[in-house]
Amino acid sequence: MERTRFFDKMEQLSTRHLLGIKDLNPNDIELIMATAKEFKEVINRPIKKVPSLRDVTIANVFFENSTRTRLSFELAEKRLSADTINFSASGSSVKKGETLLDTVNNILAMKVDMIVMRHASPGAPHFLSNHIKANIVNAGDGTHEHPTQALLDSFSMQERIGDLAGKKIAIIGDILHSRVALSNIFALKKQGAEVMICGPSTLIPRHITATGVTVSHDVREALAWCDVANVLRIQLERQQIKYFPTLREYSLYFGINKKMLDELDKEIVLMHPGPINRGVELSSDAADSHHSIILDQVENGVAVRMAVLYLLAAQN
């Protein structure tokens, strides 16, 4: 007989996988934020571990390089007491010609409950989600989405400036190659924020205004307009052709330094998802200034990823 009790039941996510922010509804985002807040308290304790996911096994499958995201996920999993296995494409059978689905099915045959995956091809986690049972967390798929980064960015913004509805967020830099930009646009729009993207016209994707953002090509205009500036890295490794003449020229026109921040007649919050190219999109004095919450973002990353894993695991 089912016992009855009075405790408040937790809301559930509307999705089984976290493939992208596009699939989430505003309630999901709110639930993740609220849960992450409790986990942030947990990771700031002397003993930073809770036993919630002690019977869950998670595979971190990284087909592309990563430092922060991978460490952050791994730490989040360990703080939740999950068993983890790590896989990186270099030094694996992928090099021998194994397909993505075969690789993942082999991992799942070892009784894995959740997959955290990064892949260079946009849509790779969506493809997998149609074929496998395990919960999938997208840790970045090519130039498409990076949902946990956008969630931790929103969490960090909320910590500084409160509710994001009506707030003005500028995303500055290489928008074309950035999965962080797209996920951030979806996340911010769903929370009612105004979004402006700013960068050289060659690095702004066509039709991006369809997402409801405004476009600027003047970084000073963007800084004067915004409450928060999220600065993105120039992703040289994804640029097969020249999008701007030189890094020096990019830095002169779109780089942000402390002087520009000091000249504003207001306080803004400066963010960067990392890794920073110091002296290109951000000067060192700006990156290390009191405006910057770059290291808070990294700390919050663990709490937000704990929340995502916890909420997905809760559905089983």
């Binding site: 007989m1 016992r3 009855t4 009790r5 009075f6 405790f7 408040d8 039941k9 937790m10 809301e11 559930q12 849960t35 409790e38 308290e41 947990v42 304790r45 002397p46 003993i47 571990k49 809770v50 036993p51 919630s52 996911l53 019977d55 869950v56 916890y310 695991a313 809760a314 089983n316």
Partner: protein, 180 residues
């Protein structure tokens, strides 16, 4: 849903002061003792106990709120519960802890709370204080050191404590109800 009142003011006030007297008997001036209310509902009872003790002893006592949601053993086995805030502004290492909850039924929440507590240190001693002890609903060997009232209920029944702090607008101000 049928409701039956089993405890209300002023008997509730008398019960609280009786429990406080028992606590003082064992902990004297509370020099090395802290109070931990268990989220989500035990905190109201804990605040009442703390307020009463502070008045009697004429000093402020340390109180914390403990949330054991992440330590439950039924995660992924039934509907998940909403996590609540932890607020433990002290280290419980070598302290005597009085763990306070409103209703003791299966004992599973208390087991989770004992687990959760270790994140804040190793207590010298833990005692359990509950307002309502549902004596025949236990799953685990857990016993309350202090209790307000023992009741005999079925698994399908609910026991609800309604505090006026929670915003319940009822004629008894504070009450304990059994709901069939």
């Amino acid at each position: 849903m049928q409701r039956k009142l089993i405890l209300s003011t002023p008997l509730l006030e008398i019960t609280i002061s009786r429990i406080c007297q028992e606590l003082i008997e064992n902990h004297q001036d509370f020099a090395n003792t802290v109070i931990l209310g268990l989220q989500p509902r035990g905190i109201y009872f804990a605040e009442r106990i703390k307020h009463e003790l502070s008045t009697i002893l004429n000093k402020e006592l340390p109180i914390g709120y403990l949330d054991a949601t992440f330590y439950r053993d039924d995660f992924r086995r039934r509907e998940p519960l909403k996590p609540n805030a932890n607020k433990v502004p002290f280290i419980i290492e070598s302290k005597k802890v009085i763990l306070i909850d409103d209703v003791l039924a299966t004992g599973r929440m208390v087991r989770a709370a004992l687990d959760a507590m270790t994140a804040f240190g190793r207590p010298e001693k833990v005692e359990l204080c509950v307002l309502i002890d549902r004596i025949y609903n236990r799953d685990l060997p857990v016993k309350a050191d202090y209790f307000g009232k023992k009741v005999n209920t079925l698994d399908t029944e609910k026991v609800l404590v309604e505090w006026k702090e929670q915003g319940f607008l009822i004629k008894w101000n504070n009450s304990v109800l059994v709901i069939f």
